[in-house]
Each structure stands twice: as C-alpha cells, then as structure tokens.
Symmetry: C2
Amino acid sequence: MELWYTEFQTKGVGITCKTKKTYHTEKTQFQEMALIETEQFGRMLVLDGTVQTTIEDEFVYHEMITHVPLFTHNNPKKALVVGGGDGGAIREILKHPSIEKAVLCEIDGRVVELCREYLPEISCALSDSRADVQIADGIKYVQEHKNEFDVIMVDSTDPVGPAVGLFAVDFYRAIYESLKEDGIFVAQTESPFFHKELIKGVYRDVKSVFPIARLYTCAIPTYPSGYWSFTMGSKKYDPIETDTSKIPELDTKYYCADVHKAAFALPRFAAELVK
Amino acid sequence: MELWYTEFQTKGVGITCKTKKTYHTEKTQFQEMALIETEQFGRMLVLDGTVQTTIEDEFVYHEMITHVPLFTHNNPKKALVVGGGDGGAIREILKHPSIEKAVLCEIDGRVVELCREYLPEISCALSDSRADVQIADGIKYVQEHKNEFDVIMVDSTDPVGPAVGLFAVDFYRAIYESLKEDGIFVAQTESPFFHKELIKGVYRDVKSVFPIARLYTCAIPTYPSGYWSFTMGSKKYDPIETDTSKIPELDTKYYCADVHKAAFALPRFAAELVK
C-alpha cells in the first residue's frame, strides 16, 4: 500500500509526496501540525496543510533568510527571528562569530517542542547559550523592544491564520523601531510565480518604511513553484553593494559569496513586481 | 467533478495539476502525447507522462536555453535545435537579428504538428522564412553536418526512450564537429536537486570534448523540483566573461543581462556537482 501526502499549493496545482511514516499529528492552540517521513525529502513538518520544512531541502531557506542580511550588515551582534519555531534560522545565525545573542520569538510553543523532538538536525542550535527562545506573540515582542536588534528575520507561515499580522505595514514600522540605526529586516514573501500581488504589496509597504528595499530569490523544491522570494528592508546597508570578496567560507550548502550577489539579479518578470 | 493530472517526477514526489479539458491524446511512432488545459499553467504538452511545456511557464526554459549561448557567442548566424518540436527555442533564436538560419531537427513530426495546432504562441516562429524544420533523427543530422553551426541547442526530453542517445559522449563529439571553430553547445540537463549523477556525468563528458564547460540554472515551476540546469560546451567563448553591458534589451520575460551572469553563480551544492 502506498500513502501520499498532497499539498494543494494553489487552487490548480499541488505537490504530492510518498510518505513512509506519520510520527505525530496534533491540533495546537494555533494550528494543525503534522510530522511525517517522506521518501523524497525525509522528515517533513506540515502546518495547516502546508509544508514548512524538510530535512532534505531546509538548508536553502534557512541559509538564504539569514546569511544574506547578516553579511549585508557590517557587524551583526543581536538578531531576532519572528516565527521560525523549527530553529533552522537560529542555527544559521549562530554560525556568525560576531553574533552575541539570537532571539527566537515563536507564538506556538508546540512547534518548538515537536521540532526539538523530531528535527534535531534543524533545531539543534536552540540549546546554544547565545540562543534565547521566547514563546510569545512576535508582533507584541517587536513593539516592546525598541532600538535593540541589528537584524530581524520574519520566518513566518503563509499570510493566512496566525501569520496575517506579519504581512502588514504597521508591523514593518514596528520592526523599523526595533532595529538599531543601521539595522536590516528580511521577510519570506512567497513565490514570484504564484503570489505576484503579495510581493508587490509587501515591497511597496517595506519601501514606504525603509530607505532601502530589495527583493531576492532562491530555489526551494517543496515550496509552491519551487521558486521563493525574500523582501529586505534596510536602514543603511545596500545588499547589492556588499563587498562579497570579504565574505568568509561558512559551512553552507546553498549560500556563498557568488549566490549573495546573484540572488538579487531578478528575472525580468520578477523585477517587474518591484518597479 | 474535478480532474487532476499527476506526474510522478521521481519515485517519491509528483506535481498534480487541475485540468479543464483534454484537447488531444495520441500514441505516435515514438511516444505517447497529450495536450491538456490546466487551470494553473494553461495549455500543457505532455510526452510519455512528463510535462514538456506549458503556456504559463515556457518562457523560462526557451529563453534560457537560447539567449545564454547566443549572447555568449559574438555573432551567431546559424543555429540548430535538436528536439524542441514545440518551436519555442526557434521563436527565441529568431529574436536575434544576426541569425540567418535556425534549423529545428525533431524526430517526431507529430509533436511539431500538434504544437502548431494547439500551442501557436510557442510554435509561431516555425513559419518564419529563416526557420528550417527537419523531421529527422538529430544524431544523424548532426553527424551529417560538419563545421556548420555557430550554436547548437539540445532541447530534449528526459534521458529515457527516444532521448537516451542525446546524453552520450559520442553525441557531444559529433556536436563538436558540427560546430564552427568558435561554436557553442547547450543541453538541458535536468534538476540539480533530483538528478545529481546525471549532471555530474554530462558535465564530465562535455568537459572531455570542449575546452570550456559550464553549468547554469533557472527556475521552472512545472519541471521536477522547480529548479533546472543547462550544461554548455564552448570552443572559444566563456559565458561568464560575456560583456553583459553590451546585451541589448530583447522582448523577454526571464532572461536579461543580469540573469545571464547570475545563472552561472551556482549554489554550493550545485557547484559541487561540477568540481
């Protein structure tokens, strides 16, 4: 007997994955959660029917949401991840020797607990002494911490359910206040093929708050269309002017100095979204 | 009632598309063929159960298999497409004013006929006076035309069935002979996520025949993993040294001067495949 897990990514297209085992399913205070074993991508975290991360391809997302802003910044010491309960972003942040503290602010404590149990390769760094795990509302946390962070990453689910408020201009304004005077903000902003209006809207909002706004992309097989975007708002540093010759070799599988620059070279249809 | 077309791209993962209509199905001398209407991607050509091209995302593949080698070359006049019966590569080639002749050599005449009928947006340029459509075996055609082409593109199906011979070192040697002294060859070479051994093997073979070998990539939603590769063999011009400031604006949706350079900036796991 074969079992397949299918995510309908839009009304007209889905990804279907052969599954070998279901480790855990649960309805938390905030969402439905599942941890399954897939043949192609290994263990997979699913929230509200949407693939969040998998053992096989998580490296792309976690490296690209972190290293791009961290190497754009001159000397990041304090970082905040809003969402990202799997801990993958924290793991990547802590590869930077300059980082003194990396705060994870995840609204759903059960996501963190499940990932600690079933995805140790991803959540491992949450026990690092520089990691500070807060189970709290990210919007409130940001509002209550002014002028504190060098880099803030919004590692959210799709803009439905608990994550809606994380795609709002008021939140971007609060993030601006929570960053230091040369701070940088990045949010995951869905697929340039499937979510054009969302990207346009977020970019317009970020640009209304930050002097520098940039869109960059990468390839993630388990996310809709396989092609994903991040929107950056920066107070001072422009990521396309990063001196990439100074980027040291990190232990990464996707990000490198060449990729830092190339990620901002948008295909014409994607460049059109942020004109 | 909902109808969905599912392609199992590997043993463990598939793409599923909501379909609105089946225009045509047929078993030709070479393969099974279907032309369907999908909700997400519009009309879609399927050969032997594998998505070949769709109205919505064909632009990526056709622009990237053509403009990258054509702008790497100094002054391409004569181009050959092996496979590519949909005509999309020919359409892009003919956007270059220097091109005097673009030969399409497709083994299955029924593919060309079906695409002329159902995919006119893609096949339109096959009626251009500079296009020369040959229904013939591409391997034989290449063997019989020596020292003739500036650029040869192998726009093949996956390396099973009729396309197996198009992924062989003997064929790359014949292509080398069929190119002029500064000629360039490009082949589609599958997904860096799912087809690592294939990419390694093709790159090794191409490098054994051509002085310059390069891998480049792009994002194609309907192809396995959404991330696709092309392998280039070049006698003289190195694509990463192309003076992209001289690339004129073409009528494209993906390719542009920035993308030309960025496509060769490989994520580390992909760079490892061609080390």
